[in-house]
């Protein structure tokens, strides 16, 4: 029975991410166009909203090129290894009072742990491509994603300390509105570290197009490339939904379906902010990226953790 449920859930997650990616790409094109004095897509459908209907078949029908010198096994399945963990991480997001698709006792840890598997996929694709630029991108990705997991986990931990549980549903039951000011710093850290985790600007060094062309997915085309893109948007959606729940209460503001709408609304705002940051800031350099993580972000996360502990003890 749980097996059937798992299959259903998996299909749902893939559909959610694919749909989210389609909407997200359109939205990103519109947002970036507004920021850049442009109009963005406007020919197909109202405000170009059907543009992705033209883009998706293009990606599907593109030739699936595997470089002759690539490690075929790694090259072919690396995109899935990047995508699958991110789809899995959606499972522990609390969408409803007392309910998450997988309401595990270690759910919050699960959300932090599982997406980190996708680093392996990135490394496999970088290695499998047999391409110097891709390898450089992979090495950068490994260093970056392993490092930024630390402040991200610490930031989430401060909410866990307040709630006293790693179980998403229990945590949300304990959620109170005054957590927002207490964990605001933590949200800042979570937001920045999440951008680094999903390899988006200004932390998109692994795929920096100005020096590494496209880094670890430079050799990919067609549907496999699209899976990488879906993984990126999936990570953005998952991080935004999880952050909206933990740091802003998500569905707690209104009962029922309205609460879900509020949750998704907050997540959409977070996603828009992620895009805003990407299209405004230049890219960091590798050494600056690591220095920022260890000397700014991690200490800030620790300060937030201490603050949360003090508040939790005082209560």
């Amino acid at each position: 029975m749980s097996f059937v449920w798992g299959l259903l859930y998996g299909t749902g997650a893939v559909i959610l991410i694919a749909g989210g990616a389609v909407v997200g790409v359109w939205w990103e094109r519109k947002v970036s166009a507004r920021i850049q004095l442009r109009l963005g897509p406007q020919q197909l459908g109202p405000a170009g909203s059907l543009q992705m209907l033209a883009d998706v078949p293009k990606l599907l029908f593109k030739e699936d090129v595997v470089p002759a010198s690539a490690d075929r096994l790694l090259f072919r399945y690396a995109p899935l290894a990047v995508f699958a963990p991110i789809a899995m991480s959606l499972a522990v997001i609390p969408f409803w009072a007392g309910w998450a698709p997988l309401d595990s006792a270690a759910g919050v840890l699960f959300f932090l742990a599982v997406p980190s598997i996708s680093v392996l996929g990135i490394l496999f694709s970088a290695w499998g491509s047999h391409n110097t630029l891709a390898t450089l991108g992979g090495v950068r990705a490994a260093a970056q994603m392993v490092s930024y997991e630390v402040p991200r986990a610490l930031a989430v931990l401060s909410v866990v300390v307040l709630g006293g549980s790693l179980q998403p549903s229990e945590l949300m039951d304990a959620w109170r509105w005054w957590w927002i000011p207490v964990t605001l710093l933590g949200f800042g850290v979570y937001f920045i570290a999440s951008i680094a985790e999903m390899n988006r600007g200004p932390f998109d060094l692994p795929e920096a197009e100005s020096e590494l062309v496209a880094g670890y997915f430079a050799d990919y085309s067609g549907i496999r490339w699209a899976v990488f893109m879906m993984a990126e948007y999936g990570a953005m959606i998952a991080s935004a939904l999880f952050g909206a729940a933990l740091f802003f209460g998500g569905f707690m503001w209104l009962p029922g379906v309205a609460g879900l709408a509020v949750h998704i609304g907050i997540a959409a705002l977070i996603i828009t902010a992620v895009m805003w940051v990407k299209w405004t800031f230049p890219r960091l350099r590798q050494d600056q990226l690591m220095t920022f993580c260890w000397t700014v972000l991690t200490p800030l996360a620790l300060v937030q953790l201490v603050l949360a502990v003090v508040v939790a003890l005082w209560l």
């Binding site: 790694l74 742990a113 598997i117 790693l166």
Partner: protein, 164 residues
């Protein structure tokens, strides 16, 4: 055979297959893939044994951390010629005999749980925290000290290597 037994059996199979691949693989790619399978199998074992906390920690620390670092080291060490680095073994009947003997001894002497019993109770993270911060506080603190020592050791190693 219940669903739980099936899960345990598949986790055990993953552990064994991954371990065999790790010990015997010739190319670094296969070694890392096998090690990943083994570590994932261990995480599944933890889950099947009722400790989701340990399973998540295993994934977080090992697959997201240590395995990535292994790959990282392989990429640093193995680049240049571009080929996936070979990981040579010097197969030795003596070593095989030692390992086989160890296996037999271990399989016999280690305490077992009778199979076919109901899935174990889930261990809640709170219970683990009680133990770690209660009777296990010394071990917990020692682990922290060890981590700090490891961090310093790595810094010293890398720095001394960089100067030369």
């Amino acid at each position: 055979m219940s669903a739980h037994d099936l899960a345990v059996a598949s986790a055990a199979a993953l552990v064994l297959a991954g371990a065999a691949g790790t010990a015997l693989a010739r190319s670094a790619t296969r070694l890392v893939l096998s090690l990943g399978a083994f570590l994932l199998g261990v995480a599944l074992c933890f889950l099947a044994l009722g400790s989701p906390l340990l399973a998540a920690a295993q994934v977080f620390v090992y697959i997201g951390g240590v395995l990535v670092l292994v790959l990282f080291a392989l990429m640093v060490v193995g680049r240049g010629d571009g080929e996936s680095p070979r990981v040579e073994s010097r197969h030795d009947p003596g070593a095989a005999l030692v390992a086989l003997g160890l296996f037999v001894v271990l399989a016999i002497v280690t305490p077992k749980r009778p199979s076919g019993i109901a899935p174990p109770e889930m261990v809640s993270p709170l219970a683990v925290a009680d133990v770690l911060l209660g009777s296990g506080i010394v071990a917990f603190e020692l682990a922290g000290v060890l981590l700090l020592a490891a961090l310093l050791a790595v810094l010293v190693i890398v720095k001394s290597g960089g100067e030369r």
